[in-house]
C-alpha cells in the first residue's frame, strides 16, 4: 500500500523557484497582532474624532450658558434699590439722606449711592425728551445699594427702619426679577444639559457601532488566535489595547480641535474686549471664553471615548469567541 518515495530520492518541489526578491532579514520590529492602519481603523478614528468634537462643542456651549445664567442672576442680585417718592409736606432731600443713612448702617450693604436730582431727571429724560422743565414733576429719587458678598443682607431690618423713618421710601430687592431670571436661566441650563446628554448618548452609540464595524474585519484574526491556543483574555486584551489607542487618538484629535477652538475664542474675547465690536458681541452672545472646568470636561470626554471604544471591542471579541465555540 505504501508507495511513497524515500526521502533521500525526492526532489523538493520548491527547488525550481528563485525567490531572491522575497528574501529578507528574518525579523524587523514585530508586526502588531491586530492590524494597525487599516481602512476600518482609520474610519473609526475619524468617527470618534468628529463625534468627540461635536460633544465638546456642546459641552462648551452648555457651560457658557450656565456661566452666563449665573452672571445674569449675580448682576441683578448684587444690588438693591431704594425709591423715595416725593410726598407733599415732606422734604425729599431729607428723606433721601435719612434713607441713605439707614442703608449705610444696615448689615450686608457695602456701598450706598444716592442719585442726585439732576441724575434722577436724566434717568427719565430718554422717555420724556430733553428741553423740558422737570423741576415741577414729582420724580422719585433712587438710591442704589451694593451688597457685600460675605455677609447676608438684613433686608427685613432695613424695611422696618425705612417704614419708621422714611414712610415715602420703598425697598426693592429685585426678588421678582431674580425669580424670573432664575427660571429662565434654569430652563436654559436644563435644555443645554438635555442636549448635551443626547449628544453624549449619540456619541457613545455611534462610536460603539463604528467599533463593531471595525471589529468585523478582524474576525479572522480572532479565530486564528483562538485556534493557536490563545486564551480568551489574551485575545480580548490585544484588541482592547489596540482600540483603546484608536479611540484615544480619535478623541484627542476631536477634543483637541475643540480645545484649540475655545482657546482661540477666549483669546479673541480678551483681544476684542473694550472695542465697540467686541462689546456688542459680548452683549449679544455672552463670553465665549471657557473656564478650566470646560477644558477638564473635554479631556474627560476624550478619555470616555477611548474607554467606550476599548470596551466595545472587548465585548465584540468575547461575542465572537462565544460564537466560535
Amino acid at each position: 500500500m505504501s508507495t511513497i518515495e524515500p526521502i533521500e530520492t525526492m526532489a523538493e518541489p520548491w527547488d525550481d523557484r528563485s525567490p531572491a526578491a522575497s528574501r529578507g532579514p528574518v525579523q524587523r520590529a514585530a508586526t502588531p497582532i491586530v492590524q494597525s492602519g487599516s481602512i476600518a481603523g482609520r474610519s473609526l478614528t475619524a468617527v470618534v474624532a468628529i463625534m468627540t468634537f461635536l460633544a465638546a462643542l456642546t459641552t462648551g456651549a452648555v457651560l457658557m450658558i450656565v456661566g452666563a445664567a449665573g452672571n445674569w442672576q449675580a448682576d441683578v442680585g448684587r444690588e438693591v434699590t431704594i425709591q423715595v417718592r416725593p410726598v407733599s409736606g415732606r422734604d425729599i432731600e431729607a428723606d433721601v439722606r435719612a434713607a441713605t443713612a439707614a442703608a449705610q448702617v444696615t448689615a450686608g450693604i457695602a456701598e450706598v449711592r444716592a442719585y442726585t436730582k439732576a441724575e434722577s431727571e436724566a434717568l427719565v429724560e430718554p422717555w420724556l425728551g430733553s428741553g423740558l422743565t422737570l423741576g415741577d414733576l414729582p420724580i422719585p429719587r433712587m438710591i442704589v445699594a451694593k451688597l457685600a458678598s460675605a455677609v447676608a443682607p438684613d433686608f427685613a431690618g432695613l424695611r422696618r427702619t425705612l417704614a419708621a423713618k422714611v414712610p415715602s421710601a420703598s425697598l426693592d430687592d429685585h426678588r421678582g426679577w431674580i425669580d424670573r431670571m432664575r427660571a429662565m436661566a434654569e430652563a436654559a441650563v436644563a435644555a443645554g444639559v438635555g442636549i448635551l446628554l443626547l449628544v453624549i448618548a449619540v456619541t457613545v452609540l455611534s462610536v460603539t457601532f463604528a467599533t463593531r464595524g471595525a471589529m468585523a474585519t478582524n474576525r479572522p484574526i480572532i479565530e486564528v488566535l483562538h485556534y493557536v491556543g490563545a486564551t480568551d483574555g489574551f485575545v480580548a486584551n490585544q484588541f482592547q489595547r489596540h482600540f483603546l489607542l484608536l479611540g484615544f487618538k480619535g478623541g484627542a484629535i476631536g477634543g483637541g480641535a475643540a480645545i484649540v477652538l475655545f482657546g482661540t475664542l477666549g483669546a479673541a474675547n480678551a483681544w476684542l474686549a473694550g472695542t465697540a465690536g467686541g462689546d456688542e458681541f459680548l452683549a449679544l452672545f455672552g463670553s465665549s471664553a471657557m473656564g478650566i472646568a470646560g477644558y477638564l470636561a473635554i479631556l474627560t470626554q476624550i478619555v470616555l471615548m477611548a474607554v467606550v471604544t476599548a470596551v466595545a471591542s472587548r465585548h465584540t471579541v468575547n461575542q465572537t469567541l462565544q460564537n466560535i465555540d
Partner: protein, 219 residues
C-alpha cells in the same frame, strides 16, 4: 491519548449527524480520517480540536474529560494540538515568519528565544527563503507549508489536518504527506482528514471512515 465513547453530535434541533463514535487516538500514531463529502469529517476534527462540544458521549483528551474543562483549560489543551486548515488561515498582515511564530508569541515567549527554532522549521519545510514574505504573495503550496509549520512550531502532541492536499497538485501533495510522516516519526500523533484515495494509498496507516454518521476503523 484521546478517547471518544458513544459521542453524538447534532446542530440545533436537527438530526444527529454523528452517532455513537467510539475510538481512540494513541500517542505517536498516524491515521487518515475519510468519508464522502458532508459525512462530518470537519465536525469530528472540530470536536478533536475542542472547538465543538458533542451533544452526548464522553471525550477524554490527555486524561481530561473535556466536558469539565473551563475556557482557559480548553485553551491550554488546544495548545497541545496543532491544526492545519484547508484554507490555511494565515494572517495576511504578518510575514511568513510571524505567522509561524504566532503560537509561541501567544504563549508570551520572547522573540529572541524562538527565532532560531522558527527559522529552522521554515527551512525544514522549504520556506527558508520566504521568511519575510506576506501570505498574499505565497503560492498555494507555500501557504500550506507555512500553515503546517505554524501548527507544529509549539511541538503539539496531536496534529490535525483538514484536507491538507486539497489545494495542491499530486506531486506537492506527496511532499506534504512526507512532511506529516516525518512529524509523526518525531513523536507527534497525526490525523489527516481527506477524501483523496490516492493520497491514502501512498502510506500504510489506519483509516477512520465516516459513513452515514458512524465511524468505522480499518487498520
Amino acid at each position: 491519548m484521546i478517547r471518544f465513547e458513544n459521542v453524538g453530535l447534532r446542530y440545533g434541533l436537527g438530526p444527529e449527524i454523528l452517532r455513537d463514535l467510539s475510538f481512540r487516538i494513541e500517542a505517536k500514531s498516524f491515521q487518515f480520517l475519510t468519508g464522502p463529502s458532508g459525512a462530518g469529517k470537519t465536525s469530528l476534527l472540530r470536536m478533536l480540536f475542542l472547538s465543538l462540544k458533542p451533544t452526548r458521549g464522553l471525550i477524554s483528551m490527555f486524561d481530561r474529560d473535556t466536558a469539565t474543562l473551563s475556557k482557559d483549560g480548553r485553551a491550554a489543551l488546544r495548545r497541545r494540538i496543532g491544526i492545519v486548515f484547508q484554507d490555511f488561515r494565515l494572517l495576511d498582515h504578518m510575514t511568513t515568519y510571524e505567522n509561524v511564530a504566532l503560537p509561541l508569541r501567544v504563549l508570551g515567549m520572547d522573540e529572541a528565544g524562538y527565532r532560531a527554532e522558527v527559522v529552522e522549521l521554515l527551512q525544514w519545510v522549504g520556506l527558508g527563503e520566504r521568511t519575510g514574505a506576506l501570505p498574499p504573495v505565497l503560492s498555494g503550496g507555500e501557504k500550506q507549508r507555512a500553515a503546517i509549520a505554524r501548527a507544529v512550531i509549539a511541538r503539539p502532541q496531536l496534529l490535525l489536518a483538514d484536507e491538507p492536499t486539497g489545494n495542491v497538485d499530486p506531486n506537492l501533495g506527496q511532499r506534504l504527506l512526507r512532511l506529516f510522516i516525518e512529524l509523526n516519526k518525531s513523536g507527534t500523533s497525526v490525523v489527516i482528514a481527506t477524501h483523496d484515495i490516492a493520497l491514502m494509498d501512498e502510506y500504510d496507516a489506519p483509516r477512520l471512515v465516516l459513513h452515514e454518521g458512524r465511524l468505522h476503523v480499518y487498520d
